[in-house]
Amino acid sequence: MTLEIFAKISVYSVLALSLVAALGVVLFPSIFHAALCLVGALVGVAILYIALHAEFIAVVQILLYVGAVMTLVIFAIMLTHRIGDQTIPQANKQSLPALLSLACFVGLLGSLFLKTKWPVGPAHTEPVSAFVLGKALLGEYVFPFEVVSVILIAGLIGAVVIARKD
């Protein structure tokens, strides 16, 4: 019983901290601090995946997002940084209309979520192992898998060509 309460408190606090980190991403004037807050938000989301019994996806999220995408983003920040950036305002003139419309959007979605009767069954908690995911990727979903491989190669070559110094 106490273990369940402890688990609930931990998951809710992870959700709250991820939201605070996401707010830090959009509000910090220094872009480097914003990138670090994004790392925090991504790790928080990975912990949420573990709580939802999707361990493989959690580990893949940390490996790909935190290990690779954030490294790339921070490299780009370091290569394009101008000293003295802190004094320039980092929000354009659309902040108030954006805030109001997004508040209405979230209010609408929130009330929809709380009112709908979701057709949920009892939660499946058997672990989805890498074996099952691999069979699905090479069995039923082989066509999107091959298309994504082609997209990855195209993205790789394209990024190298665009960013090349010549």
């Binding site: 273990l3 361990e55 954030m70 490294t71 921070i74 370091m78 890498a130």
Partner: protein, 383 residues
């Protein structure tokens, strides 16, 4: 004898069981595992520094530290006291919060990966069924901490050192992950305990390193692990003669001690994981399982320190060239050979085909990667 530590923990839990509710026992079990790792990790790191200084001293024809205690065994404690009492200097204009957090963030992955290493039979802290990817994912977050450290110091050398370090770490991650795949293919599971159990045949001697693909994958993984730990010959990030001290130039006292601790814990965990994946982990004929594990891991740590005492360091373009042009194609061909091993019938045919493919590709890659030596210029003086 083999299950000594497991029985100790069970006795402790049984003695506490009458006093606590059921969740309390589970909680105490977790706390005992965590404290064992938290005590073992830094303690190992301290005595690894002693081992390194003695060994590198002997390679360089001098005795290492021998003043503090017999054979210098209390030297790490003296070092620890020195580092705790040093002044903590933060450069003006440095980003104080990030400067403070960077050494903390680098120790977290170094300690977390201790939880998926099987120290002996039934002696793994958490038996995750995605344990191997957990190890790789958590080691990959070290790059963020290095960026934080190099950025927050507000020093051009730190920034350059940090970017070179991250480029090296990210380049060597790719052949490292690809050279793990043969062990996963052979064992059929991503859990470290299952991979060790799959090497149990022949009375505990059927290690993966005794197969052609296993040998190549062992060398690949070990070399990439040495590069991931920023050890010589891949230690451009910390080369004192090159860029002062790289990304940890501006750190002194306890913060430097944390960077140093994270590096040595990485040395231990990479050696431990190599031993688990390819050298059979805790499997072995006569001794208890944890003794075999320690022997294998410390043998690999000894080899890493031997590299440090003997080899010069690679230049940065040679380092990158090695990862992308040599280790990566070899790792891919190795995966192919591993799968071929399991589909070709007959031992002699299997051995012949794998050794032929691996030998030909190794020779081909070495030939293709020969450094370009321009022809010598001949100077003629005008007369």
């Amino acid at each position: 004898m083999d299950q000594m530590f497991v029985n100790l923990k069970k006795a402790l839990l049984d003695s506490l069981a009458p006093f606590l509710p059921m969740e309390g026992v589970a909680f105490v079990s977790v706390v005992v595992s965590i404290s064992a790792i938290a005590v073992f990790g830094p303690f190992t790191m301290m005595y690894l520094t002693w081992f390194e200084r003695k060994l590198v001293g002997r390679i360089q024809n001098r005795i290492g530290p021998n003043r503090v205690g017999i054979f210098g065994l209390l030297q790490p404690i003296a070092d620890g006291i020195k580092m705790l009492t040093k002044e903590d200097i933060v450069p003006t204009g440095a980003d104080r919060v990030v400067h403070f957090l960077a050494p903390v963030v680098v120790v977290i992955p170094a300690l977390l990966v201790f939880s998926v290493i099987p120290f002996g039979r039934n002696m793994v802290a958490v038996d995750l069924n995605v344990g191997l990817i957990f190890f790789i994912a958590v080691s990959a977050t070290t790059t963020i901490a290095i960026f934080m450290g190099s950025w927050a110091s507000r020093n051009k050398f730190s920034l350059l050192g940090g970017m070179r370090t991250v480029a090296q770490l990210v380049s060597y991650e790719v052949p490292m992950i690809l050279s793990l795949v043969p062990a996963v293919l052979a064992a059929g599971s991503l859990s470290t305990v299952d991979i060790v159990e799959a090497q149990g045949g022949w009375n505990g001697l059927k290690w993966f390193v005794f197969t052609p693909w296993g040998l190549v994958a062992f060398f690949l993984f070990y070399l990439c692990g040495v590069a991931e730990c920023n050890r010589t010959p891949f230690d451009i990030p910390e080369a004192e003669s090159e860029i002062v001290a790289g990304f940890h130039t501006e750190y002194s006292g306890m913060k430097f001690a944390l960077w140093y601790m994270a590096e040595f814990m990485n040395v231990f965990t990479v050696s431990a994981l190599t031993a688990t994946l390819y050298l059979g982990g805790y499997q072995g004929p006569l001794l208890p399982s944890w003794a075999w594990f320690m022997i294998k891991t410390y043998a690999l740590v000894f080899v890493m320190m031997w590299f440090r005492g003997t080899l010069p360091r690679l230049r940065v373009d040679q380092l990158m060239g090695l990862a992308w042009k040599f280790l990566l194609p070899l790792a891919l061909i190795n995966i192919l050979v591993t799968s071929a091993w399991y589909f070709i019938p007959g031992l002699a045919l299997r051995l012949a085909v794998s050794i032929a493919i691996l030998g030909a590709s190794f020779w081909g890659l070495v030939t293709l990667n020969r450094p370009f030596v321009p022809e010598k210029r001949i100077y003629e003086f005008a007369e």
